[in-house]
């Protein structure tokens, strides 16, 4: 299938910037209002900013949950979760209570805390990624420690750290990106990370694990 990227529209945040970034790479993009559109696309992006509970509720309301399982996960269709999209792959999150996630990645989403309360939250700005696996997001055209744009208050703690392909440091080490087969996820915003970010998106579009 020709490369065509579908962005999941579930009413959470700014799809336009992801769409504009992909268009600048010269690929076909479709903002998918419902799961029927999945059959037309080769790659899927789950973007999102906002609260975890609302994100899961909206995926359910708009009928995405079953089709994400059958048409993306089981079929091994490449999917990239961005920011809240990464966190939704987790089993659960403790943002404003406790919420069940998609459960594709064994792990939990927790808030940034520092023992002395000195850490400013949200973590906003440009921070470097310590790349530990160059086979996926960071395969081509990426500097040794790429600097990318983060804006988030929560982060995912995986049960199996071997799926992490990039770490970041804020108060302590946390997951910048991870990948498990065709499921990739980044905590930062590649669509807002200038040239390095666009390279990361381009690497996803040539995902060799699909």
């Amino acid at each position: 299938m020709k490369t065509r990227v579908g962005i999941i529209d579930y009413g959470m945040g700014n799809l336009t910037s992801v769409r504009n970034a992909l268009l600048s790479l010269g690929v076909d993009v479709e903002v998918m209002e419902n799961a029927k559109a999945l059959r037309n696309v080769s790659h899927v992006i789950l973007p999102g900013v906002g609260a975890f509970g609302d994100g899961m509720a909206n995926l359910g309301k708009r009928g995405w949950l079953d089709s994400m399982e059958t048409d993306i996960r089981q079929k091994g269709k490449p999917i990239l979760g961005i920011c809240l999209g990464l966190q939704l792959f987790a089993k659960r999150s403790f943002e404003h209570g406790c919420h069940e996630g998609l459960g594709w990645i064994a792990g939990e989403v927790v808030r940034f805390e520092s023992a002395d309360g000195s850490l400013r939250v949200p973590h906003v700005g440009w921070n470097d990624v310590q790349v530990v696996d160059r086979s996926r997001c960071y395969r081509e055209g990426i500097k040794e420690d790429p600097i990318v744009y983060f804006v988030h208050s929560f982060h995912l703690v995986p049960e199996d750290p071997s799926i992490v392909d990039g770490w970041c440091e804020y108060g302590k080490r946390f997951v910048a990106s991870l990948a498990s087969d065709a499921v990739w996820a980044v905590q930062y915003h590649p669509e807002k990370s200038q040239k390095q970010g666009l390279k990361i998106l381009a690497n996803f579009l040539t995902n060799p694990f699909s």
Binding site: L119, P122, Y149
Partner: protein, 262 residues
């Protein structure tokens, strides 16, 4: 390591870029669409656009600037977001949650509010729930009287609110804002440096990031705001009147020992 951001603020009035002094004098300096391409090429950390158009303020001179057609600031946002692969904050004249939704859907990552927040603070809570804390920047415009008394102003520096800045910033944080854009009406356009006491007092009293603004005249001013506790340094006028303002600004910060993205 988290780098401290250096942020250009672009002021829009009746569809044109302007420079500002004391929140009152606004001089036209150019075409917003040309500028965004320039900033993208420079690889800047983030952009903040503030629409400071006042109601009924049609500017006859705009016909000379070949920006006819871009009568609404949303059309400018559409154009800007097409080539803006960096975080984009949009503020000014936002009066409702619905307007925020429109602005996000047209490509902004964060919105900045001031007057709306002072008039109905619970809007901050509602907006943070709906769009996420990180998407809500509250702009706090402070005027300092000769007695040293400080007061928060709304309406583009025209409406005194009776509120004390530190208490207001703490309330804004509790209501769920993600960042504070701290402006000084006295310092606006003066080029004499930031109000460092104000920046320090506000930064120490809250745990969300503070973006310092107003008063930058030299690249060396940026680092001082960071040393007083600001997370990011912002400025408007200097970006238009100095050469290589991003690179030189970053270098000045780096020389002062501030970690920046170069």
């Amino acid at each position: 390591m988290l780098r401290h951001r250096l942020i250009p603020i672009l002021l829009l009035k009746n569809g044109l870029l302007v420079r500002s002094e004391s929140f009152e004098i606004h001089q036209i300096i150019g075409n917003p669409l040309y500028e965004v391409q320039r900033f993208n090429q420079w690889n800047v950390d983030e952009l903040i656009y503030l629409d400071i158009t006042t109601a009924g303020g049609y500017d006859l001179r705009r016909d000379d600037h070949k920006t006819k057609g871009l009568t609404s600031s949303l059309e400018i946002l559409d154009e800007v977001s097409k080539s803006c692969f960096m975080p984009l904050t949009w503020g000014g004249r936002i009066r409702s949650i619905e307007q925020m939704h429109t602005i996000f859907s047209r490509g902004a990552d964060k919105i900045a509010i001031n007057t709306l927040a002072t008039q109905s603070p619970e809007t901050i809570l509602e907006a943070a729930r709906r769009f996420g804390n990180q998407a809500i920047v509250v702009s706090v415009d402070v005027k300092t009287e000769s007695s040293g008394r400080r007061e928060v102003y709304a309406g583009g520096g025209k409406i005194p609110t009776g509120m004390e800045p530190i208490q207001w910033c703490q309330r804004v944080e509790q209501l769920g804002a993600g960042e504070i854009l701290l402006q000084s009406i006295n310092r606006d356009g003066c080029g004499e440096g930031y109000d460092l006491e104000l920046i320090q007092e506000v930064s120490e009293s809250i745990r969300i990031p503070v973006i310092a603004c107003s008063g930058v005249g030299r690249f060396e001013d940026y680092a001082k705001a960071i040393q007083r506790g600001a997370s990011a340094a912002a400025a408007a006028n200097i970006w238009h009147f100095k050469e290589l303002s991003d690179r030189q600004g970053k270098r000045a910060m780096a020389r002062a020992g501030i970690p920046v993205r170069i």
